[in-house]
């Protein structure tokens, strides 16, 4: 092995540094997965609730929902995060970095989820709801058992891609010092004066997200054929 090779390995794949900071990266992975799951659950449920509320057809409901979805889809997630991070304390709501990241990414996901599910609802012919109502179902029963299952089935592939790209944004939490993978790796990297922890972070992200990306590719090809 030449000196140049060992210098490269020493810099980017330094075993001593890797061993020292592995617990930090592992702890960061737990936080990344935790925030990611929390965002998926609250963001998707909120988006579903908004889409159903919009389907009620009341203008007083629909208008604010459309405005919310448009604004959250037009703003960079990092801007939402920073505005809430500085904004909530001045409303008397001091929130942790975890809570701010969770809240802002949930709002962003909810906007996209609302749009995907709404598009799914619109694609179900109006006759479906009318036929269900004529069998004696109430509106929300017809929505729950007839319209939503078809709408969600259409919404799944676009929603999966959106969920992956928004959960990857948990890395933005590092900007408000959330102790997730990237934040811990940057801290470790400047502490050690060596970029090995950044390479470990890159690897950790691949471990978490590559299976999701491969799954979404599979889902996109097989979903419609069911």
């Amino acid at each position: 092995m030449t000196a140049g090779d060992s210098g490269f390995l020493f810099t980017f794949f330094n075993p001593a540094v890797a061993k020292q900071y592995a617990p930090d990266i592992a702890a960061g992975m737990l936080v990344t997965v935790g925030v990611g799951l929390a965002v998926v659950v609250t963001g998707t449920l909120l988006g579903l609730a908004l889409a159903v509320a919009r389907a009620l057809g009341r203008r007083v409901l629909a208008w604010p929902i459309v405005a919310f979805a448009d604004i959250m889809r037009s703003l960079p997630p990092l801007v939402v995060l920073i505005v809430l991070y500085f904004g909530l304390p001045s409303l008397g709501l001091p929130l942790s970095a975890f809570a701010v990241t969770w809240l802002s990414l949930s709002l962003v996901l909810a906007a996209y989820a609302e749009e995907s599910i709404w598009a799914g609802i619109c694609a179900v012919p109006a006759g479906q709801l009318e036929a269900a109502r004529s069998t004696g179902m109430r509106w929300w029963q017809a929505m729950r058992w007839v319209v939503l299952p078809q709408a969600l089935s259409r919404a799944v592939p676009p929603l999966t891609n959106r969920i992956i790209s928004i959960t990857k944004n948990t890395a933005l939490g590092s900007v408000v010092a959330l102790n997730e993978i990237l934040n811990n790796a940057q801290g470790a990297s400047s502490h050690a004066g060596n970029p090995t922890p950044l390479m470990m972070a890159a690897f950790a992200y691949l471990v978490v997200f590559l299976p999701l990306v491969v799954f979404s590719r599979w889902l996109e090809q097989h979903w419609q054929r069911r």
Partner: protein, 223 residues
């Protein structure tokens, strides 16, 4: 309520920092104008390789490249390129580092969009074009790719909007775009109003595009 207005909707501060934020907005615009065409071109090349190459090794290599960069948070990629480069002895300038990270990230997304578009063009189109004497390259260029682009126009626009929003992460490596300008102004005036003003500027830039995208998507589902 007063503290909210004081800290977020402070008109004196808005007036004071507006010119500075405007220069940040300009940087956001030209950075987007740089990386969107580069990413789209690279993505089209990847998609053509994926759909037209007879070699399984090439197709698998491209899929691996796309999935790898789709799994990678763009901020992590940017920080690796920006802070890892110097350790490799590669001193990329700020703009070059940001552009490289963005193109690696967004070419994968564009490749997926173009792939879907190319696969949506019926096989007979290529065969008919070839039978008129066009070479394969000519048939792609004049017959297949234009139809593919038309099929996925909303997705191409949507991707471009995502990239404009994504330029905000360049603030982390001190690129003086809109968010960075707002953060700098915030630390000068000790007040978060500039960040709120930046949010309004992003809205002014992107809300019309988001609406337009909605109309494009609507037209497609009705077709």
């Amino acid at each position: 309520m007063d503290s909210l207005i004081q800290n977020f909707f402070n008109l004196d501060i808005y007036a004071q920092v507006f010119p500075y934020l405007l220069s940040g907005l300009w940087t956001t615009v030209w950075l987007s104008a740089l990386v969107i065409p580069l990413g789209a071109a690279a993505g089209l090349a990847l998609a053509l390789g994926l759909t037209q190459s007879g070699s399984r090794a090439v197709r698998w290599g491209i899929v691996a490249f796309i999935d790898f960069f789709r799994a990678f948070p763009p901020l992590v990629l940017l920080i690796l390129v920006y802070f890892g480069g110097p350790f490799l002895g590669v001193e990329l300038g700020k703009v070059a580092a940001v552009a490289l990270a963005f193109v690696l990230n967004n070419s994968s997304y564009y490749a997926e969009v173009f792939r879907a578009g190319l696969q949506g063009v019926a096989k007979g189109q290529m065969e008919a074009a070839r039978s008129t004497g066009l070479t394969r390259g000519q048939a792609l260029r004049h017959v297949v790719v234009p139809q593919a682009v038309k099929n996925v126009l909303p997705d191409l626009v949507g991707n471009a909007i995502e990239i404009v929003k994504l330029t905000s992460i360049a603030s982390v490596v001190a690129m003086p775009e809109l968010l960075r300008a707002a953060r700098d102004a915030q630390s000068l005036v000790f007040n978060p109003s500039p960040v709120m003003l930046a949010a309004f500027m992003y809205l002014a830039l992107l809300w019309p595009l988001t609406r337009w995208l909605g109309r494009l998507e609507h037209r497609r589902t009705r077709r």
